[in-house]
């Protein structure tokens, strides 16, 4: 089978079924946009969680020169006094004490250098990353609680200790945001699932129609001994090409949203939040194309088995 012949068969098929092919393109475009959006929302959650979110619940930030809380005494130069070595050890001893044992499951110390590294990972694509220096980031103890609800105990015990800037419950605010994003993801997945069903059925109908309008050709192909794959290939590729175009359109729209809405607007207006950027499309786009091609290929093969006698 010559390539040019297969291509000309495919294009004549696409032309003949133009309205159906356009609807396949549009339906796969919409459904894969929702699939991609769900994926990107989850990527955004991961991005916002940063390094510590899944590992610990409470952060005890220690004073550094940029601290503004009353706990960090202001020195003669107008800057806050950074935590001293003995203060840091006192906090760590308190964490290890028997009194805290029943609350603290595990803790880790994060030095300013480590904090800077994790910060760069989370905000690497934002303008914040260039402005922040390691000495601006406080050292901290990251604490995993036995019972996450017992945040107040830690807060009372540590927030007044000398050298402690503040005690923060990381989940407090983010959990609400994540709940919102997760609901949005679930809605996107449900819409995507419905649309994918539509896309599969539409591909099947298109292929069926195409097989019917080309029954003369396929009948003659059968009679002169064309192999099964030669007869079916143009039909399958017709569906696959339409679905791939839909997937490319979906990728383009998602990229545009990331670039012009997320990066240019949201991220620019909220520099304190870590947002995903358009480079996410490097994994989302191939995934969408793969999903589109597989769905169209499978549904057209199954349809052909029923409607195209070979």
């Amino acid at each position: 089978m010559r390539l040019s012949f297969v291509l000309s068969e495919i294009f004549s098929g696409l032309r003949r079924n133009l309205s159906m092919v356009v609807s396949v393109i549009l339906v796969t475009f919409v459904s894969l946009s929702f699939v991609g959006a769900a994926g990107l929302l989850q990527a955004q959650v991961t991005q916002m969680k940063g390094y510590w979110f899944d590992k610990v619940q409470v952060a005890v930030y220690l004073c550094n020169s940029t601290s503004v809380s009353a706990n960090c005494p202001v020195g003669a130069d107008g800057a806050a006094t950074p935590v001293s070595e003995s203060q840091r050890t006192a906090v760590e001893d308190a964490l290890k004490s028997d009194e805290m044992k029943s609350y603290v499951a595990m803790y880790e110390y994060e030095s300013p250098e480590e904090a800077y590294k994790h910060f760069q990972e989370q905000f690497g694509n934002s303008s914040m990353a260039d402005l922040v220096k390691p000495d601006q980031l406080p050292a901290s103890f990251r604490i995993k609680l036995v019972d996450p609800e017992k945040y107040q105990v830690i807060n009372e015990r540590f927030s007044t200790m000398p050298g402690v800037d503040q005690v923060a419950d990381q989940r407090q605010y983010l959990d609400k945001v994540f709940q919102l994003i997760n609901v949005a993801s679930i809605v996107a997945v449900i819409i995507a699932a419905v649309m994918i069903v539509c896309a599969v059925l539409l591909v099947a109908t298109t292929i069926r129609l195409s097989a019917f309008t080309r029954r003369r050709e396929t009948g003659i192909m059968r009679l002169v001994g064309a192999s099964k794959s030669v007869i079916q290939l143009p039909f399958v590729l017709e569906g696959v090409i339409a679905a791939a175009i839909g997937a490319i359109l979906a990728s383009g729209v998602l990229w545009a949203v990331l670039q012009f809405v997320v990066t240019d607007r949201l991220a620019a207006e909220n520099p304190q939040v870590a947002f995903i950027d358009p480079t996410e499309m490097f994994w989302v786009a191939p995934l969408l194309i793969l999903i589109g091609v597989l769905l169209a290929g499978l549904s057209s093969l199954l349809t052909l088995r029923r409607y195209l006698k070979v």
């Binding site: 002169v224 064309a226 192999s227």
Partner: protein, 251 residues
């Protein structure tokens, strides 16, 4: 070349088989007419040879192979060895004469150089050398059937099956078609033609297999027939020959 070994084909009604215990053989290079009224089993015979259908019992051998035992992926290879012509021509209306014939070569992967060399030769054989660029609707019925014949033989099949090829044509045009089929047969192709045109059968003086309600009622060579109702009847005084040759077909 084609051997039916006690073949019975039942579609829906077991008491009315389309073919009933058919046992016959068409040799390599033969020209055989398949005659009989509509519904006598001529088309079923052709469909069994092409393995469009499978026998309910018995076996069909084409070019030495039992087609029922053929795995489905090998069926296209069997069909490349068989050309088929129909009463309704079955040309592709949006392709030129040349492209219609070339299509049969394209879909089995022949090279463009080979197509450019072979198609004009075949068109010349059927007398359409000058009309390769025409569209089917610009041709007469006889010319369209000649394009269909060209398409059927362009891949040099060993067998040519013709299902009422003259059925839609006037007698004069039909004679032209028969000349072409005869020439193809002279070149060594086995031809089986289903027809109920007694004028053609009589003039050609070839083997005649008559089917009636799925049974072979006559199998004679070179006889003269005349139509009685819609049946062809052998005139008295003709010598009948044994329907089967002991000669084996091997390929």
């Amino acid at each position: 070349m084609i051997r039916f070994d006690h073949v019975t084909k039942v579609y829906d009604a077991p008491q009315h088989p389309a073919l009933s215990d058919i046992d016959l053989e068409v040799d390599r290079g033969d020209f055989a007419f398949l005659v009989g009224a509509s519904g006598s089993g001529k088309s079923t015979f052709i469909r069994l040879v092409l393995r469009e259908e499978r026998p309910s019992s018995g076996s069909v051998h084409v070019a030495g192979t039992n087609v029922d035992k053929l795995p489905s992926w090998k069926v296209p290879l069997l069909r490349r060895n068989i050309g088929v012509v129909f009463q309704d021509f079955r040309l592709l209306p949006n392709k030129t004469v040349f492209a219609n014939v070339a299509f049969a070569m394209q879909v089995i992967g022949r090279s463009r150089a080979m197509i450019r060399e072979t198609v004009p030769q075949v068109l010349e054989t059927v007398g359409l050398k000058e009309k390769g660029g025409r569209m089917p609707h610009e041709l007469s019925g006889g010319e369209q059937q000649r394009v269909a014949i060209a398409r059927a033989v362009v891949n040099r099949p060993a067998i040519l099956l013709a299902d009422e090829p003259t059925g839609n044509l006037d007698p004069e045009t039909g004679r032209g078609i028969m000349e072409i089929l005869d020439r193809i047969n002279q070149n060594g192709t086995t031809v089986v033609m289903a027809t109920h045109d007694d004028e053609i059968v009589n003039r050609m003086r070839r083997r005649v297999i008559e089917l009636d309600h799925g049974k072979v009622v006559r199998d004679e060579r070179g006889g003269e027939y005349h139509a009685v109702g819609d049946q062809l009847v052998l005139s008295a005084g003709n010598q009948a020959i044994a329907p089967f040759d002991s000669e084996e077909d091997e390929l």
